[in-house]
Structures are given as structure tokens and as C-alpha cells.
């Protein structure tokens, strides 16, 4: 057996960072590419992305959004057209300077994000109100050079994501779109990945460069750090003016359009690993698991094999007929114990064990991965498996909600804030709205405003830093 066959050697609690890396590598989700900052996805990792893509595509499509393709190269002159936006990405841009042995005049950036390119095209495609709304999504990768150590799914110089870009004739319609998308993001992450999120706005300091405002969904991870799970931006006319995205309205008067952009990345997979994994390895929510059920036949000799395998085949077929993704582990020369560990490491939601004794009793043993519970089912109860998988999905979200709740504190005293920040967590703390306080808190504690939750605006408290009237109770936390 190679090195990869050894289980996770550290506990999630003791060394979260090392635990995470081991789970990613040993569950064979991803691996490091030969260039620093870049990773490769193996089929079990990419399959989760494909599952998410499928769910988002269905929801986007119902909302009138279609997919398109943009090239990865953006000329420097174009990228710089919206100055603030460009400045935000400048230090992380990869530059193409040569093709073959020829030097390229206007250097080409590898897409850090596609606003400038998409809106150059949109300006050509949009002439009248008939062309609006224009709503296109792009599944691709973005490239932003990372200096810090590579962390698969969380910190990589190239990442899989989707970027959506919509154009509207009115501000109201654009702002509604921003919220519709954030809602799609939230319910997908909660329902598919079983991770609870808090939605709200970013502060002025933390918003997307070029946006009027940024809405976000944030999650708290088991190590107490915050993770940005997705953002949906209201761009106003900040891009439509420099890029001349204009339309003639029904009255034939020309107007600048209103725009949105929004994205989620494979970081969601990183969040899923962190939120649900345990010391035995990965724990996959059934909805996104490439394999939902693994059947391990147990026998010692040919006689046992002859009784067990036909039953295994029968159960496999029954589950497949119910659209369950099922696999039979028929590998020879490996013990059941080895196989159990292997599938636990890989996070398969349900394991079915069948041996000659089970056949005699006309029953099977079903082991749930997320809580390691084992139950016995009679063979006539196989039809319950889809329901059991649904229940696991619900239970995992419930458990993750409890974890998040226990990691969320209401803190209105700054010394309390400072003493507890080291342990991490989401801190709900009143804030006056001033950049100065936000910056001071960041400087002194490393915590930043992750999100100003919708509905947290209030006037009855005092800013945790300056004691002046608060305008909201944002969530402060340290990030990755």
C-alpha cells in the first residue's frame, strides 16, 4: 500500500490546518500541481463541483440566466478602464508577455475576474430595451497570484468559480437581481452542502472594488475563522458609464444600464470539508457525494462468496433503480476492516455490510458516516435508504447550525472582544459605521467586519470601539 492508504494522523481539534490538508489529499479530492499555488482536482473532488454546478445551473436557468464563454486573456488597456477596479487586482495579476518567441505589445492579463471583458461585449450587444435584461453566467477559472502558502480550495492562484453578469434597465430591477442571486446561493449552500450561512452587506472597506455595494454570505468554520462563501454585487452604473453599456428606452432616449455581478468558487468545497469532516476523514453530505452508498460484501471463503454476492447485486440494483449512486467494493485481498476505514476516509455517507450471517437473518448492517451510527435493517427495508440519506442531509445541517451557534457570541465590550478573539468565532458587536473604528479593530485584533447581517441595523447601542451611536451590529471575525 502507498502512503495515501494511511489514515488521518492528526486530530481535527489539535491541528486543524494539518488535518484539513491530510483530508484533502488522502480522500483523493485534490493534489498539489508542480507550480506553487496551483492544485489539481481528482475525480472525487471535481464530481462535487459538478454536482454544485448542476444545482446552480437549474436555479439560474429558472431565473432566466444562461451560460456563455469568455476567453481567459484580457488586454491590459481594457482591464485598466475602470481604475479603482483595476487597482484592486493589479498586484495579483498574471501577465502574458510572449506568444512563441514574439513579444506582445499590449500585455495580456489572465482573467482575475471578467467585468471589463464582459461589459466590453455587452456594450456591443445591447442597443435597446428589447435587449434587456441580459443575464449571462460563466463557469470558468479566475487567476490571482497567491503569495501565502497554498491551501487546496481555500487559497490557490487559480480557482474554479462561476461569475454571473447581468444588465438591467432600472436600478430597482438590478437590486432585486442581486438579492435573488444571494438567495439562490444561500439555499444551495444550506441544502446541498449542509452549511449554514449568514447573509448581509459588506462594509465600504470590504466591498468589491468597483461595486456600489456588495452582499455576501459568510460562514463560521470549526476553528473559529470566518469564510466568505459567495458574494453578489450591485454595480450601479460604475461600469456601464466607462464601458458605455447603454440602451435606448421605449421613448428612444438613451440611458446607462444598471448592472450586477456575482460569484461562488470551489471554496465551497473547502468549507464543506472543514464543516463536516472528522478524525476519520471526509464526511460528505449525501446530496453532493459522488458515491452515496458503498456496499462491502463480507466472506471468508468461496462458499460465503456464493451466498453473499448475489444478494449484494440485488441490493445494488434496487438502490440504483431509486437513483442512488451506489458502488460495490469487490476488491480482493483487502480485509473488511481496511475497506471500512477506506470508505470512512473518503466520506461515503452510508456503508452497507453484508455477510453470511446477515443473509441468514435476512438483514443488512447500515453504517452512517456522519455520526458513525450502525443500524440493522431487514432486507425488506432497503427501500428506506433514500429516506435515510435525506435524513442524514437534514441532520448534518442541523448539527452544523448548532456548531455555528456555539461559535457565535454577542459582545459589546471591547476588552471582552480582545480577550476572546484568539479563540475565534463570530462576534456580533455594535459599530458606529466609521472606517476609522473598523480599521483600528482590525489592527488591534485581526478581526474584520465579515458581514453586516440584514436586519442588524439598529440605533440603540454604542460602537464597541468609540462608544458613539451604533448604526448596525456587524459580525466581526478573523478570516483565513
Amino acid at each position: 500500500m502507498g502512503k495515501e492508504d494511511v489514515g488521518i494522523t492528526v486530530s481535527k481539534k489539535d491541528d486543524f490546518s494539518e488535518w484539513y490538508t491530510q483530508v484533502v489529499l488522502k480522500a483523493k479530492l485534490a493534489d498539489y500541481a508542480p507550480v506553487k499555488g496551483l492544485i489539481v482536482l481528482r475525480p472525487d473532488g471535481y464530481s462535487i463541483w459538478e454536482s454544485l454546478r448542476g444545482t446552480f445551473d437549474k436555479k439560474f436557468s429558472r431565473n432566466g440566466i444562461r451560460n456563455g464563454f469568455l476567453p481567459i486573456l484580457i488586454p491590459e488597456s481594457l482591464l485598466g478602464k475602470e481604475q479603482k477596479h483595476f487597482a484592486g487586482f493589479n498586484p495579483e495579476v498574471f501577465w502574458v508577455t510572449h506568444s512563441g518567441t514574439n513579444e506582445i505589445g499590449d500585455r495580456l492579463a489572465l482573467r482575475p475576474t471578467s467585468e471589463t471583458l464582459a461589459y466590453t461585449m455587452y456594450a456591443k450587444w445591447i442597443q435597446s430595451w428589447r435587449d434587456l435584461p441580459l443575464k449571462i453566467n460563466f463557469w470558468n477559472t479566475a487567476l490571482r497570484a497567491e503569495i501565502k502558502a497554498t491551501k487546496p480550495f481555500l487559497r490557490t492562484s487559480e480557482f474554479l468559480w462561476q461569475e454571473g453578469h447581468t444588465v438591467h434597465s432600472t436600478q430597482e430591477e438590478a437590486e432585486k437581481e442581486v438579492m435573488k442571486i444571494l438567495d439562490i446561493y444561500k439555499n444551495t449552500v444550506e441544502e446541498e452542502l449542509a452549511i449554514p450561512v449568514t447573509t448581509g452587506k459588506k462594509s465600504e472597506k470590504e466591498k468589491f472594488v468597483g461595486a456600489v455595494y456588495t452582499t455576501t454570505m459568510e460562514s463560521i468554520m470549526p476553528d473559529g475563522k470566518a469564510l466568505q462563501m459567495g458574494t453578489s454585487h450591485f454595480l450601479g452604473q460604475n461600469f456601464s458609464k466607462p464601458f458605455e453599456v447603454k440602451f435606448a428606452d421605449k421613448d428612444n432616449v438613451e440611458h446607462f444600464a444598471w448592472q450586477t455581478s456575482w460569484g461562488v468558487s470551489w471554496r465551497l468545497i473547502g468549507a464543506m470539508i472543514m464543516a463536516h469532516g472528522d478524525d476519520k476523514g471526509l464526511v460528505l453530505p449525501p446530496k453532493v457525494a459522488p458515491m452515496q452508498v458503498v456496499i462491502v460484501p463480507i466472506y471468508r471463503n468461496d462458499e460465503g462468496k456464493e451466498t453473499v454476492l448475489p444478494k449484494v447485486e440485488e441490493i445494488k440494483k434496487e438502490l440504483e433503480s431509486k437513483d442512488i449512486r451506489v458502488h460495490v467494493d469487490e476488491r480482493e485481498g483487502l480485509s473488511p476492516g481496511y475497506k471500512f476505514n477506506d470508505w470512512e476516509l473518503k466520506g461515503v455517507p452510508l456503508r452497507i455490510e453484508i455477510g453470511p450471517k446477515d443473509i441468514e437473518k435476512n438483514s443488512i448492517v447500515v453504517a452512517k458516516r456522519y455520526n458513525l451510527e450502525k443500524i440493522s435493517l431487514s432486507c425488506s427495508e432497503i427501500e428506506k435508504i433514500p429516506t435515510i440519506l435525506d435524513e442524514i442531509q437534514v441532520e448534518m445541517l442541523k448539527k452544523a447550525r448548532e456548531d455555528a451557534k456555539s461559535n457565535t457570541l454577542e459582545i459589546s465590550d471591547y476588552s471582552d472582544f480582545k480577550s476572546k478573539i484568539e479563540k475565534g468565532g463570530f462576534f456580533n458587536s455594535p459599530w458606529c459605521g466609521k472606517l476609522e473604528c473598523e480599521e483600528k479593530i482590525k489592527e488591534e485584533t485581526g478581526a474584520e467586519i465579515r458581514v453586516i447581517p440584514f436586519g442588524s441595523e439598529n440605533t440603540n447601542q454604542k460602537c464597541i470601539y468609540c462608544q458613539e451611536q451604533s448604526i448596525a451590529v456587524p459580525i466581526f471575525a478573523r478570516g483565513y
Copy 2:
């Protein structure tokens, strides 16, 4: 109305190249990006790619192939590891030399193809026979700088494709895989895109750099030029040796593995446009059409509208219940004639027209895009629409086969060859197997060996160039 609303202004016969470009742009499949050589896909264009991807994914999956992800950046040192392979791509590679303001030591290539990167990873992942076969496919883009004028889908510096890379323990198994893939390619292109292909081997001169041999599928386009539609390569141990893709067999002896790689690109969409389009614009095969049926309600006043629209809605629902992709053109202020032209330009396979008179007669008018035939159906015959779409799909392939046949000639006399090559076509001409003759023919006529069809090997003829004993009857043709 903008410029795009004007129909195709040249005929396919008179100016094929200009006709092609107009169809691509005016049917809104794609548009030119601001960088020479690059294009953007609009939703109607990308949707065809998504449809093909879906079909291939199902077939790949049934064949035990799963998808993965590879980063786009490959270090120069790695790309050069298999020297011949590298030399083949060197002049067209885009080089990243800077990230932000920092110069990068080992320059990074934008993936022209991923053999070198994939096999670096495979070498880490494969230890024993248990890890084989390893079959992973990657949907991504490849970048190869084009110097000639940009031609959407056919000649671009970045193109969407899939690249599959498999590893096997025996030569026999790898060679079988090469053929299985070629078979998947052939039946998908014929069944989905209604384009006939000829399969066989490439000559030594035309094979993929680094392959032992290349199998290919080639099609003849209406202008008499040949288009390579997809290739499946047997790599032998050409890469497994330099990249050390090794496995311990059951006897614990280490062996170099046997490999294959294979790909198709969005060029298939270009072929579809060329093969089926006509002077009115695009003609889409029903299986890949984003919209299969468009319903155009016809009325002059509110009274007409009140009778027509409910019927339209009823038909739409009935078609949707049969999984037909259907759209109702309810745009106000545009004449039916304008709408008919618009949907013909966009290639929608079936148009249904319903006006008050049709309602009276309890019938509808159905116009087929591919042959411009109009038929009348009684409303009770709506259920025939899926069958009509299937028939169109079959008819389109049949017609394309006839076109290809009429463009294919048996030529064994070289002066005949030279006099006819200007008109284009597939020339079946005997060849001795020598590079010299192949090169001379290319030099003197511009025609190259596109494919040596399976089964064309024979010994009873004389090489069209040198008159020596022939070893096969390849297809010679000019390409794009």
C-alpha cells in the same frame, strides 16, 4: 433595429467564408473578443457546447471515465520533458512571465495540451495494478497562438475542448481504449450533429507529436475542404518513460504503463454550422438546438390575440410535457414576417404558426427549418412533433451523407488529381507509404493525407505519385 437584425447578405455558394462568419455573428452564436484570435460564446453558441458535453459525459461515464480539473499553467521545465512533443507546440505557446510586478523564474506556459502536467500527477497517483486503468477526462480550454485570421470555432487562439488521458497496464487494453473513444466520437458527431465522418489513422507525418499513432475522424465540408473532427492517440510508453508512470504488477514487478490521449473541440460546432447552414442562416440539428420549437402567434387586434394566445399556451405546455425545448415569440411591434426570418436565421428546427384562421380550422402550420417545408397539422396531431424532430435529425444526416459522397472522388491518376484539387473534395488515392511522396503531393497540390481509412489498406494499386506498390488508399484533401 441594429445591424445584427439584417439577414445573411451573401450566399453560401458564392462566398463560403464570408457566409460562415455572418452566420456565426448574426445567429448570435459567438462574437470577436477585443484580442485578435479570441472569441466569446453567447448563450446560443455555448448551449450547443453544453449539449455535446452532456452527451459525451454520459458516454464517457458508461465507459468508466470520470472528469477532473487541471490548472492552466505548466512550467516550461515540465513542458519540455518530452522533447518532440514540446517542439511541436513551442511556436504557439503563450508565456506568463510576471505575476503582479514580480518576474517568474521558470516561465509558465498556458496549456497548449496537458499531457505533461497530467502525467506528472499520474506518476504520483499510480503505484500498483490496483490503480489501473486510470481514466480521467478534462473539460477546459487549450491555448495555441494563431497567426492567421481568426475564424470562430475553427481558428482561435483559445478553444473549448475536452482532453482525455487514460493509463493502462497492457498495450492491448490501451489500444482498445483508443478505438472505443474514436467510436464514441464518431457516433456522437453523427447522431447529435448529423455530420458523417470517416475514421482511420493519420500518417506518420500528420500524427500527434509524441504519439505512437493517431486515429482520427475527418469530415468533408461543403466548400470541399477537410476538417479534422477529433483525434484519439495511442501514446504507447512515449510519455510513461520520461514521466515515470509506472506500476507494480500482481507479481510485484514494476512496468511502465501504456497510455492514450484524445480530444474534440468546439470545432465541432463550426462543422455543424458549415454542414447544415443555408442562405437564410443557421440550421440546427434538433438534438443540440437550444430551442427546438418556436411558436409564433399571429393576430392583428386584441380580439385575435384573445383567441390565439390561450391556444398557444396550451400547445407550449403540451410540448414541454414531452421534454421539447419550446419558446413563444410574444414580442410586440414586430411583424410575423420579421419573426419568421429571425428564427430562420437562428436555425430553430421547427416553427409553429398559429393565427385565428388556424384556430377556426383547429390546425397549426409547422415549418421545418432544414428544408423550409411547411405542413399543416390538426391540433390533435401535436403529439407527433417529437417524432417530426427525430425525423429531421435523421434526414439531416442523410442529406449530409449525400453531400459528403458527392464531394468524394476515387482518383488514381495524378494529373486528374491536380486538375480537380482546386474544386476541393475528398480524394481516395493510393499511396506507397513514403513520406517523400506525401510531401511532394502536399507541395504541389496543397492536399495532405487527412486519414488512412480503416480497411483501406491494400496491395493491388500503384502509388498515385511514384507508381510504386501502394500500401493504402488514404483520403487526400486540403484543410482550413
